[in-house]
Subunit: 156 residues, 2 copies
């Protein structure tokens, strides 16, 4: 049984996430996903969707066996507990695979780190693209409505 | 083999969609989902995510066997082709179940129409809630940045 671990924020789900998770799952028999904690996301604006909702949506995706929240203080703790054969990195995760492998080895793990390629076959392949499209439309709406009318122009 | 059909826009995925699809799937053996076409969404602002991307994300959810795009002119055509035992309605779909059953019966289908309850256990259970949170943050950012600086403040 080859266990694979993927990690990420997974804010607003899109086909780039799905590609990363499918490719990760194909490397083994079961895919676990570690979801970044709201409090630990400091290198970019905090996600729109709260951590537990991000976790449950990722776990609903077919390639994923189980999604868990990361640790608040020790990012390696869930990795030690899952003890995966493979960890996959998304195209925009700024870890060096070799350095990460050596760090894991020092903690007693023989884990291979694999970089998954980017996916660019859809128009909205990042949460940022989706957020920016929402803002673009909202700004366009505001230019066409009376001052004082704050309807968002967006629905279900 | 009991075939269930669910329908909807499924713009930005959230736990309300997931609840609707899980509850629908539990009524039978295989769940097909008909995705509303971009061109046919006139009763609310057009979705942020294009139809093919909405389709592929819904099909990636575990309860869903297959997701297909609706027909551009005849909403009953894919239903006739799938010939489901059950059609489910989401809590915000404004069909009357009895009238829909009778309409389907006139087209030769013995299809039961079931209303699925609302899901309110997460903070963002509609695409509109998510869109409005994005806009709220963007507006808050704009009030705190210099005129002429158009950074969105949003990332992956």
């Amino acid at each position: 049984m080859i266990r694979v671990v993927a990690t990420g924020t997974f804010d607003i789900l899109h086909p780039g996430h799905l590609w990363y998770l499918k490719e990760s799952a194909q490397l083994g028999d079961e895919l676990y996903v570690i979801i970044a904690r709201d409090a630990n996301i400091r290198h970019k604006p905090r996600p729109v969707i709260p951590e537990e909702q991000r976790r449950c949506m990722v776990e609903a995706l077919r390639p994923v066996a189980k999604a868990i929240l990361g640790d608040l203080t020790d990012m390696y703790r869930p990795i030690r507990e899952l003890n995966p054969d493979i960890i996959t990195l998304g195209c925009n995760q700024h870890f060096n695979p070799e350095i990460l492998e050596r760090t894991l080895e020092k903690q007693g793990m023989q884990t291979k780190v694999v970089r998954i390629s980017a996916f660019t076959n859809s128009p909205f392949t990042s949460s940022r693209d989706i957020v920016q499209e929402v803002i673009r439309r909202s700004d366009a709406m505001k230019r066409h409505i009376e001052p004082g009318d704050h309807s968002s122009g967006c629905d279900e």
